[in-house]
């Protein structure tokens, strides 16, 4: 479904965040992206829906190159790709329902969305998404009154409104405690398994990668260092990805394999 070829991103300040990155993603994959801070994980995810403009290379979505596409076409692609964020990125002062409905903006006409008169079917769709995330009673609450885990579930509900084929998740659990992290990732796993939604998710903890992903993409300094199943990340690869000083982390990972 997604084919990335020779993707390069150089920021205006000269930082090469992605350097000739190529890979393909098939439907129904759960792809984890790992790498040290600054290795280019966020940049890669953001290039795919062009929140960040790629400098060069190709990103093909079902055979259509997203790079260089005009904004009208891009919006049609974007609405098929949901995105969730480390900081949840909800509109804090708006209600949960409004936040969820905003996931539908790529589909409905401005005549409906600007005055905010959402038709019944869209409200029902939002109610279903909230129900699915276990947030039935929160629709009317202001987003910033929710806990972190609840806010991230609202973020997923917003993405679900897009009826996405792919969900990009940029460190979705980095701001949450381990219990909530598993709950969020289980939701993504469920969507991947039951709805066939492809997941591309950057993660910091290898135990989470082993537990949820069926493929890993490791980045270092904007290049792909490893692309394969999680079990293939052996000791040498680990050191290559995370550096020599990461020995201790590796130890915990060995001691606590899968949960």
């Amino acid at each position: 479904m997604l084919k990335v070829e020779h993707l390069t991103k150089v920021y205006p300040n000269g930082v090469v965040a992605l350097d000739d990155v190529s890979f393909t993603v098939s439907e129904k994959e759960f792809l984890a992206i790992i790498g040290l801070s600054g290795s280019g994980k966020s940049t890669l995810l953001r290039c795919i829906n062009r929140l960040v403009e790629p400098t060069s290379g190709k990103i093909e979505w079902y055979g259509k190159n997203i790079v260089g596409m005009n904004s009208g076409e891009l919006r049609k692609i974007r609405r098929q790709i949901g995105m969730i964020f480390q900081q949840f990125n909800l509109v804090k002062r708006a209600s949960v329902l409004t936040n969820v409905l905003s996931g539908r903006l790529g589909y409905v006409s401005p005549r409906i969305s600007l005055p905010g008169i959402w038709p019944k079917e869209e409200k029902e769709r939002a109610a279903r998404a909230l129900h699915r995330m276990g947030l039935d009673d929160k629709a009317k609450s202001r987003a910033d009154t929710l806990s972190g885990g609840q806010q991230q579930r609202v973020g997923i509900a917003r993405a679900l409104m897009q009826e996405p084929k792919l969900i990009l998740a940029d460190e979705p659990v980095a701001s949450l405690d381990p219990v909530l992290a598993h709950s969020i990732l289980r939701h993504l796993e469920e969507l991947n398994r039951d709805e066939g939604i492809t997941i591309m998710c950057s993660l910091h903890f290898l135990d989470l990668v082993h537990r949820y992903a069926n493929r890993v993409l490791a980045l270092k300094d904007g290049r792909i260092l490893f692309d394969g199943p999680p079990r293939d990340i052996d000791h040498a690869r680990f050191k290559e990805i995370y550096g020599e000083e990461a020995e201790d982390v590796r130890a915990t990972f060995v001691d606590a394999p899968s949960q």
Binding site: I77, R78, R79, N89, L105, G106, S113
Partner: protein
């Protein structure tokens, strides 16, 4: 030791020149501003009187009733019949029943009502309708007064008719009512508050869209966007520097002096000022939700409606109320140049030397300004 960058001689010359220039500027400014410290002392009584007038603003009146009592007072004695002082009721009692020219008598008043204004007149009986003021007093809480009156030659008996010493009494009756000056002031103060409100609202309608165009995070993408961004910013910066007073004069000549000219002047100035404040609020929003909404495939206008506006509403509200507060102050000043409202009234009253009424206007300005200040502070506190 680092080498000195300049030889010492030119530096000395430069220093001398700069010192000279500074001294010249100060000498000229002191002369031109005509600083006259003695005037502070010599004018002090005037200042005190004015402040006292201001501090006793004309705010309330009572109904008044007028009455008079009097009696014939022959000058010199024997030139005409003397008149008996009545035993009771409101009356005046001279110390002597008659008198000689040049003498001084004491006049008492009894039963005239408490706190009444009393004017003592000589009604010159011989010459028709002529009267001479003898004294002006206020009665005490028992309705009593005492004053001295000089017997001037003009009050002498003519053609056998004595002049009549008369007290004209003006006493307040009934309840305290707002004075006409107060009512007029309240009207003008309300007009000022509404002028500021209308001007601020009109300006806000234009400032909101302009502020989005002048926000770097919304508009400054690509060449066309940057052009719009810079043009809008320039427009806001220019209108912001317009002096409302000058604008009011221009609009006064254009549409006629009055409230409308004042509102236009305020509105033009406020568009720039509010637009700038709003655009800074837009620029300081959390970019996360904007990114998230853009990622759903929303267009630019939808993104503004769903991700930007909810974030800036509290600040927009507090800036608007704050500017309403500022505009009440400015419109007071604009009133002075004919912009209508309370400032206009104050100017009018000062020019006609009605200082008590001017005091009423000043009181109203102080009240309105502090009320709005309080209100806008409260709104801002709640909004954040």
């Amino acid at each position: 030791m680092p080498p000195s960058p300049r030889p010492p001689a030119p530096r000395l010359i430069r220093l001398t020149l700069v010192t000279l220039a500074i001294v010249t500027v100060y000498v000229v400014s002191l002369r031109e501003t005509e600083i006259d410290l003695p005037a502070l002392a010599t004018g002090f009584p005037n200042g005190i009187t004015l402040v006292r007038d201001f501090l006793t603003p004309d705010v309330a009146v009572r109904e008044t009733a007028n009455s008079s009592v009097g009696l014939d007072f022959p000058v010199p004695c024997g030139s005409a019949p003397e008149e008996e002082v009545p035993e009771s009721g409101p009356r005046i009692i001279p110390s002597d029943p008659c008198g000689e020219v040049g003498a001084t008598i004491i006049v008492e008043g009894v039963g005239l009502g408490a706190g009444a204004d009393v004017s003592l007149w000589w009604i010159l009986q011989g010459i028709s309708d002529q009267r001479l003021r003898a004294a002006r007093v206020t009665t005490d809480s028992e309705g009593y007064f005492q004053t001295t009156v000089e017997i001037r030659p003009i009050v002498a008996t003519k053609e056998g008719k004595a002049s009549k010493l008369t007290a004209e009494i003006t006493s307040e009756v009934g309840v305290l009512r707002p004075s006409p000056a107060l009512l007029e002031t309240v009207d003008a103060a309300i007009l000022t508050v509404f002028m500021a409100l209308i001007a601020t609202s009109m300006a806000a309608i234009f400032a909101v869209p302009l502020s989005f165009l002048a926000a770097a995070n919304i508009t400054r993408h690509g060449g066309f966007g940057s052009a719009i961004y810079y043009v809008t910013r320039a427009y806001l910066n220019i209108t912001r520097t317009f002096e409302p007073l000058v604008l009011a004069t221009i609009f006064g000549l254009w549409v006629g002096f009055g409230a409308f000219a004042g509102v236009l002047a305020l509105a033009v100035f406020t568009v720039g000022s509010l637009g700038k404040l709003y655009s800074e609020a837009v620029e300081s929003i959390d970019p996360g939700p904007v990114e998230a909404v853009r990622a759903t495939g929303a267009g630019p206008v939808e993104t503004i409606f769903y991700a930007v506006i909810p974030q800036v509403i509290p600040q927009f509200t507090s800036f608007s109320v704050y500017h309403w507060d500022i505009n009440v102050r400015i419109s007071t000043i604009i009133g002075f140049v004919g912009g209508g409202g309370i400032g206009f009234l104050l100017n009018q009253r000062l020019r006609t030397f009605s200082y008590h009424k001017a005091g009423t206007a000043i009181l109203a300005i102080v009240l309105v300004v502090s009320l709005l200040d309080f209100f806008s502070a409260a709104v801002r506190k709640r909004a954040t």
